[in-house]
Assembly symmetry: C2
Homo-oligomer: 394 residues x 2
């Protein structure tokens, strides 16, 4: 097994303002995100040799993306892998470039989630198989089990646990307040977080991400061509997915205090990127905070904090903008919501801007290596993508 | 732009018997197809480094495939691209191997179509965008327009056209009658084909493929490792997709007598594989005969017959088992139906067996180069995959 390391670069990115975009169609958002990326990379649609489209709800086919962009008659592929779908678009594009098939390709992800009536409640699907759908529960209920599981395992009282989760929400809302592309751009207090209406015990309103529309896009090219496009490309060091085999919650064998797919996905990505000490080497991480408890456990699964000790880092402010490892500097899913196909690309957008020193009010100091973590499904059958990118080769 | 040529090999394949598989779940078929492939390649599930899953209806996530195969914690990706979905699974797997990321991977596609209530009638989807869904019509009605369009353009009477289409159905039913894995394993006469009940004028019952359940799987590895697995691997020479940009039927600009995506997909694949004269160089083709008219026009779009002159080749029996370019030797979609995610892999299964000389009663004489053509959607927004494989390097 070889690696993608330093074979592939990101030379342009685009991202719409996420939110309740009633006035825009999915196609409008695709065009807006892609054209920001085209302009950023200094390319035109005709330069795109192939494309990858990530969407859960806007199926079937990739023509929903090629049509408004008028990318006629090029290879275009739709990928879908639960909530990690956006990262699959990046990975598909990156592998094809790493294989030497194409020089310059496009990855786009998007979702008009508000149009779907998506509420986070279980939905009737047109088709299902018995063994798959029997696991259906609301996302909030599933992740609430993680919260109570984590509290129980590490001896946290309800009050202690709620405070920890609240601190994550406060941090992410602070970051989102600095970001003109976020859906929610306002600060909250720890009291607001703790005392918010309960959604699924012990998760309250501010422990849950919202329902938003959004789209994001990346121009991906061969690493050795990247500086023809711009002086400051970002190089992909690792792009992996870890897929569960459904040994999870359904079978009651799962440790609810962590997500094995995230742990193993992290291990694989660190190996691919040659990272020995993730906490020290990684300068910025965008992780999948669909719920505050998810961000909490991810910190341990990605080895940023020792097992059971993320509390110390949260209380020390380690993951804040001014901390030693800023996490979700753009506001995360907490402030962007989770238009599913867009999320993985939106994460990469932030890492890309941060590594280029172009993150404006959110800019952290001299980052060199960034990580995105994108998680779908329930532990045990989850899809977890870990992508590592740096601002220099090697 | 480089090529996938000779970087990737197929060393194992599996395919269930297609049909109304009421007694099997989708998971049962996945396991059956994958284990035939494992055994064929002499590998075990633990040897699989990553996997690709193609399905339109059995979404979301690739865990529906990793779970029954107990492929825990490996990278696994779901791809979907209309009726060309199965070929996307092959392409995703092939690119990742060509990129040097993995040595041995699995591609699986499948659909329990009978469970979905799929009839070929327009279906209500949970989500749609206006501009996408406005194009919805029944597949039979859409391809019927191609038939009348072709008849009109080339001056065929109804009787002449029906006879041509009937000859395709008779050929494919003959091939299917020799294939124990086909859904329909019986011959039909030209009179039966011509006089069958009308489905969508001028297409009758035997001009349409059926609704079937099925699954198929491939083990794909680095070309330089292939002979460690078996003495007779198949090498992938080209794997391309051509995606339309919806300038098609809706806009009334489309030439109904051909599918531009198939023509361009063929061109791209021939270029990648270094093929100058497709008719002479290709020894066997499995093409997307969802309707008899589709196979007819594909012969011209893939440059097997001159435009407007496929009639001569059909009447000469050129595409029969004993012809100079046998087409749909396994019975095609006509006899296998079209469990969408499975079809592209089922086509490759036949080409693989033919190139290895293991196609039993259907075996053609010394084939060296085979092609699969997998088409989804409507012309103008269609996804067309063309894959070329040979039984030797170079």
């Amino acid at each position: 097994m070889d690696s993608i390391k330093d074979k592939v670069a990101v030379v342009g990115m685009g991202c719409v303002k996420f939110g309740e975009n009633w006035g825009k169609s999915l196609e409008d958002m695709i065009v807006e995100a892609a054209y920001e990326a085209f302009e950023d990379a200094g390319v035109e649609p005709k330069d795109i040799e192939a494309a990858w489209w990530g969407s859960v709800f806007a199926g079937e086919s990739s023509s929903i993306m090629t049509a408004p962009l008028k990318l006629g008659y090029i290879p275009a592929t739709r990928v879908e892998n639960q909530c990690a779908t956006g990262s699959e678009a990046i990975r598909g594009a990156a592998y094809a470039v790493a294989a030497g098939i194409y020089d310059v390709v496009l990855a786009v992800g998007g979702e008009k989630l508000k149009d779907t009536g998506f509420t986070g409640l279980p939905q009737t699907r047109p088709v299902a198989t018995w063994s798959y759908r029997i696991t259906t529960q609301t996302p909030a209920a599933g992740f609430a089990m993680m919260a109570t599981g984590y509290f129980a395992k590490y001896g946290l009282t309800f009050e202690e646990g709620k405070k920890l989760l609240g601190q994550i929400a406060v941090k992410n809302h602070h970051n989102g307040s600095l970001n003109p592309k976020a859906h929610f751009q306002r600060e909250i207090t720890i009291e607001q977080a703790i005392n918010a209406p309960m959604i699924a015990y012990p998760l309250g309103l501010f422990d849950c991400c919202g329902v938003s529309d959004g789209a994001a896009a990346a121009i991906i090219c061969r690493a050795d061509l990247a500086k023809k496009f711009r002086p400051d490309p970002i190089y992909i060091k690792a792009a992996t997915i870890c897929q569960g085999a459904r040994e999870g919650w359904l079978s009651q064998k799962y440790d609810l205090a962590h997500v094995e797919e995230t742990y193993r996905g992290g291990l694989a990505a660190y190996k691919e990127a040659g990272i020995k000490d993730p906490r020290k080497e990684i300068d910025i991480a965008e992780v999948h905070d669909c719920f505050s408890i998810t961000e909490l456990t991810i910190m341990e699964d990605l080895q940023f904090s020792p097992r059971g000790r993320v509390k110390d880092d949260i209380e020390a402010g380690s993951f804040a903008l001014e901390g030693d490892l800023p996490v979700n500097t753009d506001g995360g899913l907490k402030c962007f919501g989770h238009p599913i196909g867009a999320t993985g690309l939106r994460m990469l957008y932030e890492v890309y801007k941060q590594l280029q020193g172009k993150a404006d009010k959110r800019q952290i100091k001299n980052p060199r290596l960034g990580l995105t973590h994108n998680q779908g499904g329930e532990p045990g059958s989850a899809t977890v993508s870990v992508l590592i990118a740096g601002n220099e080769l090697g």
